[in-house]
């Protein structure tokens, strides 16, 4: 494990160095990404310009939810976002090169890139988080302080697990990337809203099937000392790290199975 971490630093370090060869371009992209994602928040703010409440959530509370979801998603995007190159690697057979190296294949794919510009998204989320934490009433305790980084990390792992699992579709259907994107980016969109406002089937989906409700919604309930509008037990508010572990285990298993179906390309 320590070995993998060291190799990750070496591989990603090489990628970052090559991006920094064009410093100005990297800086522009970073700022550009931050501004673009700020538009997402503007969209939510626009809703609140017309309504004061979303379910029983105020705009400040939604801002907290939004910030947690955005930061988690940005971290996932930063670390595994380049998985959207998988269909291309499968089509061109470049995955071969990864499979002949003595490291887990998923690890190598994850370590293959680190796009600095994606840090912009996280920065924007951090801005909103600070705004929310300052304006929302939180009954602070040690648990609640720790819950914030823990929720962000668990959320990132949950997103990553969903992302990896969906990406494996490419081993069977190479051109499925648009469908996959609909779920990954769509999923991040869903997790920015209190799930109480969703239709019943959609709530069931994000809690029990693709557990993105655990990214921000349940941790936010805990921070705000709120009850789930639909009466799910309070315990759901603390289990995000556990859900993250289970999701990671499931995603790894799905990945392993999928790689055995790799067909490579050419003669």
């Amino acid at each position: 494990m320590a070995d993998l971490a060291r190799i990750y630093v070496h591989l990603v370090g090489a990628r970052i160095r090559s991006q920094l060869e064009y410093r100005l371009s990297a800086a522009f992209q970073l700022v550009g990404t931050a501004l673009l994602t700020a538009l997402d928040f503007a969209a939510i703010a626009a809703i609140f310009a017309n309504v004061d409440q979303l379910g029983d959530w105020s705009i400040r509370e939604v801002a907290l939810l939004y910030a947690l979801a955005t930061i988690s998603f940005a971290l996932t995007d930063l670390v595994v976002g380049h998985l959207d190159l998988l269909p291309q690697m499968i089509r061109e057979g470049t995955l071969d090169g990864i499979l002949v190296r003595p490291l887990p294949s998923l690890f190598q794919l994850v370590a293959a890139d680190f796009a600095i510009r994606r840090v912009g998204k996280a920065l924007q989320g951090v801005g909103v988080l600070i705004f929310a934490l300052v304006t929302v009433d939180i009954d602070w305790s040690v648990g609640r302080v720790l819950a914030i980084p823990l929720a962000i990390a668990a959320g990132a792992v949950i997103y990553a697990a969903v992302w990896v699992s969906l990406a494996t579709i490419a081993f069977w259907i190479v051109d499925a990337i648009e469908v996959v994107n609909a779920f990954t980016y769509g999923g991040s969109f869903l997790s920015q809203y209190p799930i109480g406002i969703f239709a019943r089937w959609l709530r069931g989906l994000v809690v029990f099937v693709v557990p993105i409700a655990f990214v921000a919604y349940f941790p936010a309930l805990y921070l705000l000392d709120k009850d789930d509008a639909l009466g799910l037990p309070r315990a759901f508010s603390f289990v995000s790290p556990l859900v993250a572990c289970l999701a990671a285990i499931a995603a790894t298993a799905i990945w392993r199975n999928a790689v055995r179906h790799y067909r490579s390309a050419g003669g």
Partner: protein
């Protein structure tokens, strides 16, 4: 070192047959192949395009999971013990780079040292040695994307051998290279095989690779093994015929010369097939020149496709396994 028993690989191919319809078809890329390769051997694995060469190599290296049969490489099951196997083998794909596109060779080699956990001392020794034999020094700090194909291939070979593998698999290592680069690659492989005892399995299109490198040769076609033996024996049986292509000053009827078959005529250009053991190219050239003014000439050696055709024509069948 390598054992292959009744190995098969099936692919499901879906071909579009209409606007929405798709036909589902099963293709046997490898259809029951068996062979063994002992430690320290250098074996050529050849066949026409789509014969199943690369598929076999991909199964041996753990990239593809076989549909049936048993594979052992260095005592390991490639697809199930992929990572363990990866430490003990080196792989070069002629058409795909294994190096980091944006990095200079020096950085790539350094990353590989970490990935394969090669002790620093051993890494340095190997790198010095390969740098000297392959002449890498001149382009060690150039990003890989700026290297010529020949330079890149030398980098690929080094990358595949830095961790002291027991076996190297080379898939078309000389494809697209010029004569000088080809011979550098061949010399290097001979050296690695002789002096380091590395087992080499080489797939190629180019019979000259086999001629310079391999004492044993496996030929596959349509997923079957149709030859397993020495190159000399193969040539004696099927490869005697060469072709002299002559450009004459004017168009004449197909030349009639003893021991020569005219296989093709295109205006003033004629293709003359002759047997190596009966006539020399020099004799034949003189004979042609005596009959019609000669502008230009070239000799075509027997291509692997041609040999495969002849094996079939001679009633050859998939080798019993």
């Amino acid at each position: 070192m390598i054992e292959v028993h009744d190995v098969e690989k099936r692919f499901i191919v879906r071909a579009k047959t209409g606007r929405l319809r798709r036909e589902r078809r099963e293709v046997m890329a490898v259809d029951g192949i068996s062979f063994e390769i002992e430690s320290g051997a250098m074996v050529g694995y050849v066949g026409p395009n789509g014969a199943g060469k690369s598929t076999t190599v991909k199964m041996l290296t753990g990239i593809l999971v076989p549909s049936a049969g048993r594979l052992r490489v260095a005592g390991l099951d490639p697809s199930r013990q992929r990572i363990e196997l990866a430490r003990r083998i080196g792989v070069v794909f002629g058409q795909r780079s294994q190096l980091w596109w944006d990095l200079p060779l020096a950085d790539s080699f350094d990353l590989l040292r970490h990935i394969y956990r090669v002790p620093a001392q051993r890494h340095r020794e190997n790198l010095e040695r390969f740098t000297a034999t392959l002449g890498l020094g001149a382009f060690m700090t150039t990003p890989v994307r700026q290297l010529s194909l020949g330079q890149r291939m030398r980098g690929e070979l080094t990358a595949a051998l830095l961790h002291d593998p027991d076996i190297v698999f080379l898939d078309e290592p000389t494809i697209g290279l010029d004569v000088v680069a080809k011979s550098a690659v061949r010399e290097f492989l001979t050296d690695v095989n002789r002096n380091r005892g590395v087992t080499v399995l080489l797939t190629t299109h180019d019979l000259a690779d086999i001629e310079r490198l391999c004492s044993r040769l496996l030929i596959v076609d349509h997923g079957h093994l149709i030859w397993d033996g020495g190159l000399d024996e193969l040539k004696r049986r099927y490869g005697q015929e060469r072709t002299l292509v002559v450009d004459l000053e004017e168009t004449v009827p197909p030349l009639e010369l003893p021991g020569v078959r005219v296989t093709r005529v295109e205006g003033p250009r004629q293709w003359l097939a002759f047997r190596r053991d009966e006539t020399s190219a020099a004799e034949l050239t003189a004979a042609v020149a005596a009959r019609a003014p000669l502008l230009d000439l070239a000799i075509e050696e027997t291509q692997i496709e041609e040999i495969v055709r002849r094996i079939y024509a001679a009633g050859g069948a998939p080798l019993a396994t």
